[in-house]
Amino acid sequence: MASLKDIKNKIVGVKKTAQITKAMNMVASARLRGAQTKMEAFRAYSSKFDEAMSNLSGGANISAFPLMEVRNVATVEIVVVTSDRGLCGSFNANINKLAEKKMKAYEAEGKKVSFVCVGKKSSQYFKKTGKVRKAYTDIMASFQMFHAREIAQDVADNFVKGKADKVEVLYGHFKSVAVQQPAVQEMLPVQPVADVSGASKKAISGDYIYEPSTEEIMDVMQPLYLNVILYHAMLEVGASEHAARMTAMENATSACRDIVNNLTLVYNKARQAAVTGELMDIVGGAEALKG
């Protein structure tokens, strides 16, 4: 059995850990609020964007755009978006596992797979496979639209050059503070956006004056659309990461509390045993003197 001092030290240590995890929990919850407002601000932009895209796809000749070209799929590129930092439970592991599963499924079909990793955790995970085409790390902490633009541009160039025939984005979907799920979205070829609000919209779209032509507008809009998809994925991951960390840290804190309780019990028992032992010694000594 460990000595009293050992147990005492351990209690102090665990209490300190609990302090750290508690602080991390609070930091994560503050950051989560920031990430959520960012997400909400972006929602207005992306919903408008979808609306305009659906207006446009009605009028335009779709097959003419290089970014919309549907080819026989020989190479699939998977853009894996994770966080840069760990200590957020199984959040990143879930995304990476799904990506790996996808990779195996595609390879079983005889397709080649390459990765673009956004966030340190995915690039570390897939480094050993040797299939990482490009990795963007250390941007998840304070990413901006132009980060998304840079990545989107690179992915689009690669697609147009024919080095990838299909691009998917894998990210952690922020369902709620308690639930985050890995999710897949197809990015390239660009899908014509389904009409959001039905027939009435179509009627208007025919009357639009376009400047320049619909085709040229599409040329400008499509790269922007890719930015929107990627930025959205990054925002979701940003929020999910903090939510996941909050939960993980809360669990850690309560686990610490349990350990401290147990250890205190052990400590008190040991202390009592020691006192009893000493008393026995004293009583035994006194008895011996008497006799």
């Binding site: 305009a52 004056i209 507008i217 400008v220 930025y231």
Partner: protein, 137 residues
């Protein structure tokens, strides 16, 4: 009171302007254009430049870049990557960005690097537009 049109300027970081205004002037793909109330449905891409609107006697200037604008149902919506109100523009930063962009441009011209050149040109244009808009307001 003349009829007004609803102006909304939306960026990825949230809405910048949401007001009823008399007239909107914007840098369109084929040149600057003005939009009054009850304009026909219209969709155009936007160059980097000055967006101004008037509301009675008040006139506001904004610097906008990269995106498009849509007019429908007496509402004009700008979806742009960045939008900054004239008075809030950081001129020093724009000045530095201009110098940086010029250097990059010179370097790219030497190496005949098309991608970097277009990027640097865009950055230069943004910086110039910021300075111009801030001077006007």
């Amino acid at each position: 009171m003349a009829q007004q049109i609803r102006l909304e300027v939306v960026t990825p970081n949230g809405a910048v302007v949401s007001e009823d205004v008399d007239i909107v002037n914007a840098p369109g793909y084929g040149g600057d254009f003005g939009v009054l109330a009850n304009h026909a449905p219209f969709l155009s891409t936007i160059r980097i430049g000055l967006l101004s609107y008037e509301q009675g006697k008040k006139r506001e200037n904004l610097m906008i870049s990269g995106g498009f604008c849509e007019v429908s149902n007496n509402k004009i919506t700008f979806l742009v990557e960045s939008a900054e109100i004239g008075q809030q523009i950081d001129v020093d930063r724009a000045m530095k960005a201009k110098e940086r962009a010029e250097q990059r441009l010179a370097k790219a011209a030497q190496h005949d690097d098309l991608i970097n050149r277009t990027r640097a040109e865009a950055a230069l244009q943004r910086a110039l537009a910021r300075m111009k808009v801030s001077k006007m307001s």
